[in-house]
Symmetry: C2
Subunit: 260 residues, 2 copies
């Protein structure tokens, strides 16, 4: 029997790891890393920094796999992601079989929380269902980029008794979705906030939250939209990648405040 | 100048505190606790246990305030909560003025993540806006009960590229909200999942997640709804309180899996 941990490592701040994550990392013999190419080399370095700080099991090592390319031009987003995930599962299964001995502990480290917009839980689940390798596996939750964003802006994500929707830039339309006054947008490569019709929405935006490069902007969308657009364009040009998210808030008439 | 930390302490597992939360706790002179009465005395004990484990600043102390009652019979939920919040801010402002000296560090510990269905951020913000006491204040994000639930079930909260809505039992109707296939329900005192019309929804339910009393049930809603109802009724009778949440999932036709 081999053991696998899927460990959430927070949004980029080494102090945002939980004690549980640190304790799990200390048991790990083999860390599996899928390389995504040069653009995010800085993220790879950040992760290595975490390991230097916390991984102390004698003889532990880091094994790299090649993250398969995803067909971003595909018409059918869901199918393209499914195909990509299946090929990632192939790569990961092969890594586990080749590199992890019986009785050893392996880990995948995931930015943020493994439960949000990350495929690793699904991949390990697929490997288990294929049945070629017996795994005892566990998920260690992490601080999501959403929690980190809200903490830095010192806001709640919901208004009194209200709902919050977490969605993607791709899904965001010109209005907020029905029935919610608070919408968190992730994976927004195309500045979808510029499409929104209502200039009176509040936006709480953050990039590289929790890292030294953190940028925070908040305000009335009509007033700060251009500023956010410029900030994210400049940051992308300077660093070659961006990791940002934001909350859009329509002030609920009855509420007026955050919380509970 | 006084300093206040609002610290997320996770969903009930002392190992789910982040390193940042532990480091913040170590700087604290005064922990402010609002007592909610006997029913949740167990939560108070859990929190005291955390402090025994992590709080080590010489002379640190815990100061209790009386959490004002909330009018749960009120017609207008939002207003009742607003009124309650304002009275809580009164109590907290008084505690800070009376018990925290200039230059000292105070803290409010919040279960889960302070950004979700908790009023503490709003209360401290209100105190700052009132301007009677100058505060340097910070929010330390925590593992939400949602992240903890997903980790224990080893599932993602979203399906491929899909949205997730976080809502309350009070708001849940007989169908899932429009436009989302994944809905997380919190603060559900009345087993709102029993109202849902579609027996083919998947439910991933958990109570007291991360504690020794943890209960997890998942499956097709039509098959496990009664079992969950019975489990939560029995648990409530045995312990006098319940802290549970769940994910409702409609299998998206194109997707079939969790993640990304």
């Amino acid at each position: 029997m081999r053991t696998i941990y899927v460990i959430g490592i927070g949004a980029g701040d080494a102090e945002q790891l939980t004690v549980q994550a640190v304790n799990a990392i200390r048991q790990v013999d083999v860390f599996f890393v899928l390389d995504k190419g040069e653009a995010k080399a800085e993220l790879v370095r950040l992760r290595e920094e975490l390991l230097r700080q916390y991984a102390d099991r004698p003889g532990h090592r880091v094994v790299h796999g090649r993250d398969p390319d995803r067909d971003r031009s595909a018409e059918r987003y869901g199918e393209a992601v499914q195909d990509w995930r299946s090929r990632r599962a192939d790569v990961c299964e092969r890594l586990v079989l080749d590199e992890l001995a019986d009785g050893q502990v392996g880990a995948f480290l995931v930015w943020g929380d493994p439960a949000l917009y990350d495929g690793t839980i699904g991949i390990v689940g697929d490997i288990v269902r294929r049945g070629r390798v017996e795994l005892d596996w566990h998920v260690v939750p992490g601080i999501s980029s959403i929690s980190a964003l809200a903490a830095r802006h010192r806001i709640g994500l919901n208004q009194v008794g209200g709902a919050v929707q977490v969605t993607t830039g791709r899904r965001l339309q010109t209005e907020l979705p029905d029935g919610v006054d608070d919408v968190v947008v992730m994976l927004d490569a195309h500045a979808a906030f510029t499409r929104l019709a209502d200039p009176d929405l509040q936006i709480y935006w953050g990039a590289y939250v929790g890292t030294p490069d953190e940028i925070l902007v908040s305000g009335r969308l009509g007033e700060v939209s251009d500023q956010i657009y410029a900030a994210r364009t400049q940051a992308y040009e300077r660093k070659g990648w961006i990791m940002d998210s934001y909350l859009l808030r329509r002030r609920a008439p009855a509420a007026g405040g955050d919380g509970t």
